[in-house]
């Protein structure tokens, strides 16, 4: 059975179904992270003392680099989409590959951060701050991995669609990009909340 409105816009919504579907999914993601941010506020406002991230062994320079890496990956993702729309597979692969690499660097830095904390006994069980820190960054990290799996697929085997159904392929890159930018957006808020305040 042919799935309708994967390329052309639905007459009632004005967008193709994949895009509306991803935005609805992102709405649920906002509520997921929103619930955790809400828990963070609850824990912080009810704590007698709330430590600064540095006191709990957080590394601001590394987190700043990670923020830059994720922002850069958002730009390369949107450039990959532009290259796909311009029918330039070589450039698409270059930008999408760079996006994937940025995701890998982000996770690598996160691994270094986590290892350092575990080495110094800064475990989730040690304090409320560390518990919410590991919950929020861990969930975010899982989202990065999820995005990388999709991006890796679109860079590799999924790119076959570039030749057979180019419009559909471009739409796939667009919706994968929406998800990836959301992951970047979440980190934009996590960084100051956990590391700087």
């Amino acid at each position: 059975m042919q799935i309708p409105y994967t390329v052309e816009n639905h007459p009632e919504t004005g967008v193709y179904n994949g895009k509306l579907g991803v935005w609805l999914f992102l709405a649920s993601e906002v509520m997921l992270f929103g619930a955790l941010f809400s828990s963070y506020i609850l824990l912080r406002t009810n704590a007698a003392h709330w430590p600064h991230g540095v006191e709990e062994g957080l590394n601001i320079p590394l987190a700043t680099v990670n923020t830059m890496v994720l922002i850069a990956s958002s730009v390369t993702m949107v450039m990959a989409w532009a290259a796909a729309r311009l029918h330039d597979l070589k450039k698409f692969r270059l930008y999408m590959g760079t996006t994937f690499l940025c995701g890998l660097i982000f996770l690598g830095i996160k691994y270094v951060e986590y290892s350092d904390k575990f080495h110094h006994g800064h475990l989730p069980s040690k304090s409320t701050f560390l518990a919410i820190y590991f919950t929020l960054t861990g969930l975010h990290g899982l989202h990065v991995i999820g995005g990388m799996i999709v991006n890796g697929y679109l860079w590799g085997p999924g790119a076959k669609l570039f030749h057979t159904d180019h419009a559909r392929f471009s739409n796939r890159i667009e919706v994968a990009g929406l998800y990836w930018h959301f992951v970047d957006l979440v980190w934009i808020f996590l960084f100051p909340v956990l590391y700087l305040l």
Partner: protein, 100 residues
């Protein structure tokens, strides 16, 4: 999303680069402000203001919300309403009896 011609797409990519530069600059400003050791409320206000600006840039330009269809805005308005409820719940006093 605005246009679909090759020229339109190339123009969009120039905007993406400018947005990236703005995001990088705002990240540096966030870290620089944190070294000033402001008191809690001003520090929170500045950090959140910068984060909201950065988030808006990502949403408007990378996620193309600046020129989206009405149905997407409708979904987002509903999301924002529920998100605001979630954020105000811990400080509204409704959870006071169970939180302490």
């Amino acid at each position: 999303m605005s246009g679909h011609s090759a020229e339109d797409i190339k123009r969009e990519t120039r905007v993406y680069i400018l947005v990236f530069a703005a995001l990088a600059a705002l990240t540096v400003i966030t870290v620089a402000v944190s070294t000033l050791h402001l008191s809690a409320m001003p520090a929170l206000a500045v950090a959140l203001l910068i984060a909201i600006t950065k988030g808006s840039l990502v949403a408007c330009y990378f996620m193309h919300l600046i020129s989206e269809k009405k149905v997407i805005y409708s979904v987002l308005i509903l999301t924002v309403v529920f998100f605001v409820v979630l954020m105000t719940l811990p400080v509204s006093g409704l959870l006071g009896s169970t939180a302490r």
